[in-house]
């Protein structure tokens, strides 16, 4: 049975000084397949019951277990140790406040998501049946609706690091998801929530978010579209 050697970032606010992260080493034996998340559970069950991390679906759809693994943003559940080196370094999402060990404080992240009016805005009365949408119009949603809100992009964005108020790629991708929906009738209602000093202009197309996204989405492109939409509406007076 092969061994996976883990080097795990540890920090407990009850015992450790601010910023005093240390690295603990653990070895986990496995048969043929071991995901990083399975490795963390094995450590938590057998080697160190104090290890903290988030988990839920273990199938790459819930977004709970985004971490910084061997220097890359990854979902712990989707990352098999077979594809990593002999020593695996596992750290929490960088540049975010740590709750404990591998879990970060996502409070601001979700507050910013809520800020962009992340829901379909309709002014006309709903039809009795579905609101018609062509397959072509529906296709525009394919990319943004696959976001799992894992926070990787947000953690990777230098503009977020430099400006606490910046909404960041995930929230703006969510705004984009509704702005490009043919059913949405927000017109200028959502506009002030991304066309402001917290919003799209703080994106400098560094594209770290694109590289970080475990679902291979492209928030940078979405943000540039929003910039264009903001200009069209605010300066040229268009509605859509």
């Amino acid at each position: 049975m092969p061994d996976a050697r883990f080097r795990i970032a540890r920090w407990d606010p009850e015992h450790d000084a601010p910023g005093a992260v240390r690295y603990d080493e653990f070895t986990v034996a496995y048969e043929s397949s071991l995901t990083v998340l399975e490795g963390l559970f094995s450590i938590q069950e057998k080697l160190d019951g104090s290890l903290s991390f988030r988990y839920c679906c273990r199938a790459a759809v819930c977004g709970s277990c985004a971490m910084y693994i061997d220097g890359r943003y990854r979902l712990a559940c989707q990352t098999n140790v077979r594809h990593l080196g002999s020593e695996i370094t596992v750290e929490p999402l960088p540049h975010l406040p740590i709750v404990k060990d591998l879990a970060c404080d996502m409070t601001d992240f979700f507050a910013k998501y809520e800020y962009v009016k992340p829901h379909l805005i309709r002014n006309s009365a709903d039809p009795e049946k579905e609101i018609a949408q062509s397959p072509k119009d529906r296709q525009r949603l394919n990319m943004p609706i696959d976001c799992i809100m894992c926070g990787s992009c947000y953690s990777s964005c230098p503009s977020v690091w430099g400006e606490d108020n910046y909404l960041g790629p995930a929230a703006l991708l969510k705004a984009y998801r509704f702005e490009v929906d043919s059913r949405d009738e927000a017109r200028r209602e959502r506009l002030p929530h991304f066309d402001n000093e917290r919003g799209v202009y703080r994106c400098h197309t560094i594209t770290n978010c694109v590289e970080a996204c475990p679902k291979e989405l492209n928030p940078t492109e979405a943000i540039q579209w929003l910039k264009g939409a903001a200009v069209r509406r605010r300066i040229l007076g268009r509605l859509k």
Binding site: G49, R58, C62, L120, K129
Partner: protein
């Protein structure tokens, strides 16, 4: 003590739909969830949600009555037919409601919601968004709840009900981030915590689908209904049991044995790969048991290659990614090794179709509840439907109950007592500490016992052995200790506390299965191979008792469709 009129436990589709409705009715409602609601297990549903919209060219004459018939037949006639009628009628407006709220369903060329064929259904009536329908519906519902301003207590783990003088008056919850128990007083509580898949070692379910919500109700004296009916999904990935949607077969995928045969021909010559899940899982297991698994081993193939790269990438992108990342197989290039895997709890907290339970002020909806609309076997596409239909109905019923109360009172001393009881319990776990019984050994033995003794095929001998094992684990779970006593995000504490509930729920499954001397739907006994309507056309009710479940029964509501033999 925190107060809201209505506490919803669980932030998946059922819980959020209940909360959105209650909020709209003017009720002060709050949701407690152990994860951010968008991470709930509803989001893992893939293939779709059933409603007789008649959008598909082949389903122009589809109706809710036909949906009801397929559901009742699929249930092996154990579903309550009045509830099925309600669900299949409600399906149509509630899918349009989800669409109006922004759910990004896939579309037909005419702009209507796309529908695909699914197992056990007479028409293509499963509305879908690619193969990520649950994710899309869940995010839409979270967006709606945020828009409605429903307060959400995120990463609060609910541990027990507060019951005062025979009435449910709130819950005790543990603050996962900061530590510590808190009483949440309320006039009513809706439990919407999902299924009990993780009592099995081979589940498709999220790690948090422990059945703990069922266990809390059970411990408070509310019966669990039909727990022996456990769905095994035909197509879980071999290595991880991660779900490969039924939609893969709905889009035309084949099941193949070692000889390259589409073996479903032998078991369901008309429906083939789109037979209901109980029949398909038994067929796969029979092929494996008789040595026709791939290479003689314990799996068969799900083959999608003939669908072509474009269709797979367009309609099934999610499961393609899962197969690549978790099994190392690209379905465009290779067949996918699959195995029947625990998937769904047909049973649950005994409710009526408005979520009422025997305990006044206490409601349940979604997978943790048993209305029953799924009976002995749920049809694919009916679980997402159940969450929104019965989540909505439970929200309405609880709101009406609250608004009809003559006087409201706080939970008073019962809240404090319930918190003290939880603190005492955790104090005992901490005092026993690391040297005590190992909770993770108990968990592993439980999940192995359930998988090995209460699987696709069952018989008295193996089930009795499994039941005895579970009784032993029930004794041992009372002796486990904590390894870690820190306040902040204590994974050890959560997993140790939830284990006791998991063992209770697993025992209820085991007891019900052992007692039911017939084969019906997912409960397939080699020693009692036939359905027995004269003795067993009834629901099992399990009531908590410290020595083990006490079993009773309740009648099945018929009326629309006479029980007949199931053939596909």
């Amino acid at each position: 003590m925190i107060y809201h009129d209505l506490i919803v436990v669980g932030g998946g589709l059922a819980g959020l739909r209940a909360a959105v409705g209650a909020k709209a009715a003017g009720v002060d409602v709050a949701v407690l969830s152990q994860v951010w609601p968008g991470r709930s297990h509803s989001g893992a549903a893939q293939g779709g949600v059933n409603a007789a919209l008649a959008n598909h060219p082949d389903s122009a004459d589809d109706t809710w009555e036909k949906h009801a018939f397929d559901t009742v037949k699929g249930s092996d006639y154990l579903a309550d037919q009045d509830a099925v009628v309600q669900m299949t009628k409600d399906a149509i407006p509630i899918i349009f409601e989800m669409e109006h709220w922004g759910c990004p369903f896939s579309r037909f060329d005419d702009g209507t919601i796309a529908q695909r064929p699914f197992g056990g259904a007479g028409y293509p009536r499963t509305c879908y968004g690619a193969d990520k329908t649950g994710h899309y519906m869940l995010h839409t519902m979270v967006e709606r709840a945020v828009h409605a301003g429903v307060p959400m207590y995120v990463e609060w783990f609910v541990t027990r009900l507060i019951v005062d003088d025979g009435v449910c008056r709130g819950v005790v919850a543990y603050d996962m981030i900061k530590g510590g128990f808190e009483a949440f007083a309320a006039e009513a509580v809706i439990m919407a915590t999902g299924g009990a898949g993780r009592t099995y070692g081979n589940s498709t379910n999220a790690i948090i689908s422990t059945g703990y919500g069922m266990a809390m109700a059970y411990r408070a004296g509310v019966p669990l209904k039909d727990m022996e009916f456990v769905q095994f999904h035909p197509t879980g990935l071999l290595t991880t049991n991660i779900l490969m949607t039924e939609g893969a077969r709905g889009e035309g995928g084949y099941l193949l044995n070692d000889l390259g045969e589409r073996f479903m021909e032998k078991y369901a010559p008309k429906a083939m790969e789109l037979a209901p899940r109980d029949i398909t899982s038994r067929s796969i297991q029979t092929e494996i048991n008789e040595g026709r698994g791939i290479g003689g081993k314990g799996y068969v193939y799900l083959d999608l290659r003939h669908l072509g790269a474009e269709k797979i990438k367009d309609q099934l992108p999610g499961i393609r990614d899962l197969a690549i990342h978790f099994e190392g197989v690209d379905p465009v290039e290779e067949p996918v090794p699959i195995v029947p895997s625990q998937h769904y709890s047909m049973g649950g907290i005994d409710t009526d179709m408005d979520g009422h339970t025997d305990l006044p002020g206490f409601y349940a909806a979604g997978e943790c509840a048993c209305v029953s609309v799924h009976g002995a076997n749920r049809l694919g596409g009916n679980s997402l439907l159940e969450t929104v239909v019965f989540g909505r109905r439970a929200g309405v019923a609880a709101s009406q109950y609250i608004q009809g109360l003559h006087q409201r009172k706080d939970a008073g001393p019962s809240g404090g007592r319930a918190v003290a009881a939880m603190e005492a319990r955790v104090g005992e776990l901490a005092a026993r500490g690391h040297g005590a019984e190992d909770p993770y050994a108990v968990r592993a033995e439980m999940t192995t016992a359930m998988k090995d003794h209460f699987g696709v095929f069952r018989n008295a001998t193996t089930m009795q052995a499994g039941f005895d094992t579970m009784l032993g684990l029930k004794a041992r779970v009372g002796k486990v200790g904590l390894r870690h006593t820190g306040a902040v995000l204590n994974v050890d504490l959560i997993r140790t506390v939830e284990l006791e509930g998991m063992v209770d729920v697993a025992l209820a499954i085991a007891a019900g299965a052992l007692a039911r001397t017939e084969s019906r739907g997912s409960h397939s006994r080699t020693d009692y191979p036939d359905r027995d309507d004269s003795d067993w056309l009834r629901h099992t009710l399990a009531t908590y008792h410290p020595e083990g479940p006490q079993l009773g029964s309740s009648p099945v509501t018929l009326g629309m469709f006479e029980p007949q033999e199931r053939k596909y």
